[in-house]
Symmetry: C2
C-alpha cells in the first residue's frame, strides 16, 4: 500500500477521509508543525480559555455540485461544522464564514447559498461572527469554496466524550439512514437518476444531541459524525484508538432501499459513504433503550438503530455479521477516489 511519502504528491485520496488522509496528517502535517500543533490536530479540539474549556473545529467545503436536490454548499458548510462541535459534547455558539469565489460566479447563486447559511444557522441557533471573501480568476477555483470554523462551550463542563471512554459491551447507535448524502450527490454528478428518491441527510444535529446529553451524559461514551469515510472509517478509528473490537450486525444498518441499489450500481459499500446528518454513538448497555427512544422521537433520529456493540476481541478489528452467518472484516479505507462530497 503506497503511503504519502512514496507517492510524493497530493492525490484525491488524501482528502477522502481514509487511511491516506490520516497518513498525510500523521506522517507529514503533525511532524512538520512540530510543537506548534497540539499533536492531534483532529478536526475538533478542546481548549482552555480563561480557565474553562471551549471547543473549536474547522472545515473547508468543496462539494460538487454546489446545489443539490434539498440543499447546497451553504447548508453543508454550516451543518458540517455544527455537527463536529456537537459530537464533541459542545454546544455550538459561534461560526466564522469564509468564501473563495471564482470570478463571474452569479450573484443570485451566492445569495441562495447565503440564504441556506442563514436557515441552517437559525435552526442550529448559532451566530455568524466573522467573515471573509476572496475572489480568484476564472478557472482558478471551481465556483465556490467555503470554510466554516465553529466555537462552542461545554454547558455542563463535560469533556469526557472520547474513544478512550469506550467500554466493552457498549452499544453502537447510528442515528440516521446511511449513505443518503453521498448517493444523492453522486447520482446528480453521474446522472444516475436516484437523486429525487434518495435525498441528502444534511442537517444540524446539535438539537437532537443536546436532548440526549441532557439526561444521559454519563452513559454516552463517544460520538462521531459519519462524514468522510463513513461509518466504516469511524469504526476502524475507534478500534485503533480504544484497543477494543467492534461487531456490527449488517442488517441492522439503517439503509434506504434505493440508496443501496445505487451504491450497488456504483460498486461502493455504503458503510464507507459520507453522511452529513448522521452520527454514531457509543453508549452504555443499561441506558441504550432510553437513549434510542429519545433519539427516535427527534425528526432527525427516526431511523436510529442499534447496529452493533463493542467487544474485547484481542485481534482489534471491525467484524460485520451477515444474516446468513457470514462474517466480513470491515477494513479501514485507503481512499476511494470519491472526492468533493462535502
Amino acid at each position: 500500500m503506497k503511503m504519502t511519502k512514496d507517492i510524493g504528491r497530493i492525490v484525491l485520496d488524501h482528502g477522502t477521509g481514509g487511511l491516506l488522509s490520516e497518513d498525510l496528517i500523521s506522517s507529514i502535517i503533525i511532524p512538520r508543525l512540530g510543537s506548534v500543533s497540539t499533536g492531534e490536530l483532529a478536526d475538533s479540539a478542546v481548549l482552555d480559555m480563561h480557565g474553562k474549556k471551549i471547543a473549536v473545529t474547522t472545515d473547508s467545503f468543496s462539494i460538487d455540485p454546489i446545489f443539490f436536490g434539498n440543499g447546497n454548499i451553504g447548508k453543508v458548510s454550516v451543518c458540517g461544522t455544527i455537527n463536529d462541535l456537537a459530537v464533541s459534547g459542545a454546544t455550538p455558539l459561534y461560526l466564522t464564514l469564509a468564501f473563495i469565489i471564482e470570478e463571474d460566479f452569479p450573484l443570485a447563486d451566492f445569495e441562495q447559498i447565503l440564504d441556506s447559511v442563514r436557515e441552517a444557522a437559525q435552526e442550529a441557533q448559532v451566530h455568524i461572527v466573522a467573515g471573509d471573501t476572496k475572489v480568484v480568476g476564472l478557472g482558478e477555483a471551481d465556483k465556490i469554496f467555503v470554510n466554516t470554523t465553529g466555537i462552542g462551550y461545554f454547558k455542563h463542563g463535560r469533556t469526557h466524550i472520547s474513544p478512550r471512554n469506550i467500554r466493552k459491551n457498549d452499544n453502537i447507535i447510528v442515528t440516521g439512514l446511511l449513505g443518503n448524502h453521498s448517493i444523492h450527490i453522486l447520482s446528480i454528478r453521474e446522472g444516475l437518476g436516484f437523486e429525487s428518491r434518495v435525498l441528502s441527510d444534511c442537517a444540524p444535529l446539535n438539537g437532537m444531541i443536546a436532548q440526549v446529553l441532557e439526561d444521559h451524559a454519563p452513559d454516552i461514551h463517544f460520538m462521531r459524525d459519519l462524514t468522510r469515510g463513513g461509518l466504516g472509517s469511524v469504526l476502524s478509528e475507534v478500534v485503533a484508538l480504544s484497543g477494543l473490537g467492534v461487531e456490527i450486525t449488517m442488517d441492522k444498518l439503517p439503509m434506504q432501499y434505493e440508496m443501496k441499489m445505487a451504491a450497488d450500481m456504483l460498486g461502493i459499500n455504503p458503510i464507507y459513504l459520507a453522511n452529513e446528518g448522521n452520527i454514531s454513538m457509543f453508549v452504555s448497555p443499561k441506558a441504550t433503550n432510553d437513549i434510542l427512544n429519545k433519539i427516535r422521537q427527534h425528526p432527525y433520529g427516526k431511523h436510529a438503530s442499534v447496529v452493533g456493540h463493542v467487544t474485547d476481541d484481542l485481534i482489534k478489528r471491525v467484524i460485520g455479521l451477515g444474516d446468513d452467518g457470514q462474517i466480513t472484516i470491515i477494513e479501514p479505507l485507503y481512499g476511494r477516489e470519491l472526492p468533493r462530497l462535502c
Copy 2:
C-alpha cells in the same frame, strides 16, 4: 459607479478590499444572513465566552504565486490572521488551519508551506489546534488555498480599540514601509525584476503590538492592519466610521525608493497597496513620541513614522498634503483588479 446588484456577478474587485468588497458585505451578505450574523461581520469580532471577551477572526488566502522571495502562502496565512487579532488589542492564542489543495500538488511544496506555518506560529507563540485538508481535481483550484481562523483573549480586559474612540488631533502612525508585499508579489507575477530589492514585509506583529499596549493601552485609540486596499482604504473607512477627517503628509509615508519606482511603472498609488506586516495606529497626541520610539525599537517597526493626524473637517474625507502644498483627496478605492495578493 456600478455596485454589486447592478453587476449581478462576482467580479475580482469584490475580493480586493475596496468599496465593492464593502458593498458585497453590506448590501448582500449582511442582509441575507439577517439576525444570525452579528451585523458587522468584520474580519475580526469580539465575543462573549463564559462571561469574558474573546476575539475571533477568519481569513482565506489565495495568494499567487504561492512561493515568493522571502516567504510563501503558509507564512502569509499565519501572519494575516495573527495581525488581525493583534490590532483588535487581543493576544492571539489559537489558530485553525484548513487547506484546499489541487490534485497532483507536490508534497515537497506542501512540506515547505507547513514549515513556514510552523516558523510563523512559533514566532507568534500561537498553537495550531484544529485542521482540515480537502483535495479537489486538477484544474478545480489553483494549487493551494489556505484558511486560518484565530482566537485570542484580552490580557488586561481591554476591548476599547475601535474607530469610535478616535479623537480630533490623534496622530496616525504607520509602522512599516508601505507597499512592499504587493510590489514583491506583483513583480514576480509580472516579471518586473524588482522582487530581489523589494521584499515582502509579511511578519507577525503581535509581539510589537503587545509591547506598545503594555505601557500605552489607553492612548491607543484604534489600530488596523494595512492589508487589502492598503492605508488608503483604512483611512477612508476610519473617516466613514468616526465622522472625523484625516490629513496625511504625503512625504512622511514610509516608502522604499524601489517600491515607489515599481508602483509608478504599474500606475498604482502605493497608498492602496496591501501590506502583510504593517499597521496603522491612531494615538493620542501626548503619547505619540513615546509610542513611536517604542515601535521603532522593534525590528518590525524601525521604519515607523507619524504620517498625519485626525481633523474635524466637516466634509468627512482623507486629505493628502504634498510637499509642494498640493492637496490630494484620497478617495476610497472602488476595486483595483489586483487580486490574489494575500
